[in-house]
């Protein structure tokens, strides 16, 4: 459990709606008696690639589940593009421009890769002519190619390798045209070459104006990609800064001692 003095230097700020494109202030999530997110505050700057790092169980997924609408936080405020979006449901967040991928991939097993991406292009309307002229298929094909799935357009997710499923997750998230995208533990199980490929895709997305938040517990693949990082443990922020600062931060090293490599 972090003590007050440890928290003082990274937690004395409270953030307001205009401090970044995505801002969380005093975010708290409790499950029964367990505190998973402990008055966490952070601000994501537009156009940056931000790393969100922490050992397993640190509360990374819970934080982002509360922020992206999977469930509402117990307390605290979330601002997106200046607007208070605390607790709004997931599909609303997506419509506002906040997309995310899932660690446990959730592809649609009953349809091909290109149709999977097409779903993300479907309008949230009951009666619509969208798709009749073939526009969504064309667009979905484009997106699939951009994430490297151009060769497997008609295959079903069950036929894809692990890296392919990840690209599909990315493709579906990109299709919703987000301003901010959260990528959840993307590098798990990827080879060095695949990590490089993926990083390039994400960098190119940033070049096109997207803000990215990459969550991971393994810093290896991450540190070359990100501009900046937060490190959390036990639901609180323990370090913040650019990759070098993070690597050399004693608190971070201690958090990872005996755990995952840095």
């Amino acid at each position: 459990m972090s003590t007050d003095s440890e928290r003082a230097d990274v937690e004395d700020r409270s953030y307001g709606p205009d401090d970044g494109i995505l801002v969380a202030n005093d975010l708290r999530k409790e499950f029964g008696g367990l505190v998973a997110v402990d008055d966490l505050s952070f601000a994501v700057q537009e156009g940056e690639i931000l790393g969100f790092i922490g050992p397993n169980g640190a509360g990374k997924s819970t934080t982002f589940n509360s922020v992206t609408g999977t469930y509402p936080p117990t307390d605290g405020t979330v601002y997106f593009k200046g607007e208070d979006v605390t607790g709004i449901p997931a599909h609303e967040m997506v419509k506002k421009g906040m997309a995310r991928t899932f660690q446990e991939f959730a592809p649609l097993g009953d349809r091909s890769v290109v149709k999977n991406i097409e779903l993300a292009l479907a309008p949230d309307e009951l009666f619509t002519l969208a798709g009749v002229g073939g526009e969504s298929e064309a667009l979905a094909t484009e997106i699939a190619k951009r994430v490297g799935l151009g060769d497997v357009l008609d295959q079903t997710p069950s036929e894809l390798p692990h890296a392919g499923m990840l690209k599909l997750e990315l493709g579906r998230a990109i299709a919703t045209q987000p301003d901010v995208m959260l990528v959840d533990e993307p590098f798990a199980g990827l080879s060095g070459k695949e990590v490089q490929e993926l990083s390039e895709v994400m960098e190119s997305l940033r070049q096109h104006g997207m803000t990215l938040i990459v969550v991971d517990h393994n810093m290896r693949g991450l540190l070359n990609l990100i501009d900046r990082a937060f490190v959390i443990q036990f639901g609180s922020k323990i370090a913040e800064g650019d990759p070098d600062e993070i690597k050399n931060d004693p608190k971070v090293q201690e958090a990872y001692l005996g755990g995952d490599e840095i």
Binding site: K95, K96, F127, L129, E135, Q155, R172, Q177
Partner: protein, 408 residues
């Protein structure tokens, strides 16, 4: 807006072209052409069937509509409705009461009945959001049972709504005004028996075409892909910026409207508004038969529902036509009805889980490839889960949630 999809060029023009292209008969895939031939054949029945045979076949058209109504919500979104006759009965009784007890014209009756049934869909669809698997099944099962009891409770009179009552177990005494009939209150009055039989048949056929068109259009539209996505994985739907609740409710409302419309047309095209016809002699018969038909034909396809209804009816006909005497028991085979049909249904359920239509399409593809000397296609041309598999997975997850099981 983040989910605005960028369209370039003249969208409307492109869509018009696309639709025209899709409707070109010669361009249609074989299975679609067969379907069109089938529908045309149904329309041509009066040219070679006697009025008696037409009358015997007419209920099958309604079974097809009822089955489609089930498929559009349960086959597509995976929300299994076990009391679907609830909607048929609301439609049939509703229109009958409105036209006989309140004296309103047939058209008004049909429209009102459809609207009320759609509201019934809302009544089921909203609680359905909070209920999983078996609980949803039980709630939907209760609806027609409660309705049945209501008919009995208010058999003499239901103030304001049905001053002459709901008829109890025997049903409403008078047949409501017909769309095509002898009486003055019919929409189209005729004088000959032949025209009357034709009129009844074509009224049912017209209703069938309408229901088929609506169900087909919705399920092949963008909403349809969302429906099936809901069945597959609701989280995927949410993370695509779509509100699953909206679509789930819509599916029930649509199913209700379609079912209610079919029920209303039933009583105005020769049918009688009673519980035996609209709920089934065993109170839940019709609800279950409809499920059997849709699943046997192939759930989640709309076409499967039509085929399944036809198959079910044909089997029953066949059984009834076999009048030879069974040796030891000393009774006619036909007297065993409906047991052989149920037995056949069991066999299909166990051995052809995806249903007859998908299986037929698969076999047809293989045969055609072999005939043409082409490579026989993979068992699953596009791979992936079939509607039945997705629904099963979804249901299994829900059951495991409920009983707290920790295995898959």
């Amino acid at each position: 807006m983040a989910t605005k999809t960028p369209f370039e060029g003249n969208t409307k023009e492109r869509r018009r072209e696309a639709v025209k292209e899709k409707l070109q008969f010669s361009e249609l895939a074989l299975r679609h052409r067969i379907g069109v031939y089938g529908v045309v054949l149904l329309g041509l029945f009066p040219t070679f069937l006697t009025p008696l045979e037409l009358d015997a076949f007419r209920p099958v058209l309604f079974f097809m509509m009822f089955a489609m109504s089930w498929d559009v919500v349960s086959g597509y979104t995976g929300q299994l409705s076990f009391g679907h006759a609830f909607f048929f009965a609301i439609g049939g009784y509703g229109s009958a009461v409105v036209t006989t007890q309140h004296g309103l014209p047939v058209i008004v009756g049909i429209v009102l009945a459809t609207v009320v049934a759609a509201l019934g869909g809302l009544l089921i669809g909203i609680p359905a959001l909070r209920l999983e698997g078996p609980y949803l099944s039980l709630v939907t099962l209760i609806a027609p049972l409660l309705l049945y009891q209501t008919f009995i409770l208010f058999s003499e009179s239901l103030p304001l709504f049905a001053p002459q009552g709901l008829g109890g177990t025997g049903g409403l005494p008078t047949q409501p005004p017909q769309v095509v009939g002898f009486a003055q209150d019919a929409l189209i009055t005729v004088t000959g028996n032949m025209s009357w039989a034709l009129g009844r048949y074509y009224t049912a056929f017209a209703a069938f075409l309408l229901v088929l068109a609506v169900c087909y259009a919705v399920t092949r539209s963008s909403a349809g892909t969302v429906f099936t996505a809901i069945r597959e994985d609701e989280n995927a739907v949410r993370s695509s910026g779509l509100n699953p609740a909206k679509f789930k409710i819509f599916a029930f409302v649509l199913a209700g409207a379609v079912g209610g419309f079919a029920g209303a047309m039933f009583v105005h095209a020769g049918g009688f508004p009673n519980t035996e016809n609209l709920l089934g002699p065993g109170r839940i018969d019709l609800s279950i038969q409809v499920i059997i038909m849709a699943i046997i034909g192939g759930m989640g396809t709309i076409v499967g529902a039509v085929a399944g209804a036809l198959l079910f009816a044909l089997t029953t006909e066949l059984v009834n036509a076999l009048t030879f005497t069974i040796p030891v028991l000393g009774i006619e085979f036909a007297a065993l009805d409906p047991l052989p049909t149920f037995l056949l249904a069991m066999l299909v359920l166990v051995y052809l889980p995806d249903g007859v239509v998908p299986e037929a399409i698969r076999r047809g593809r293989r045969m055609r490839a072999r005939y043409r000397g082409e490579e026989v296609p993979e068992p699953e041309p596009t791979g992936g889960n079939s509607p039945v598999q997705s629904t099963i997975q979804k249901y299994r997850e829900e059951i495991n949630d409920i009983i707290g099981r920790d295995n898959k």
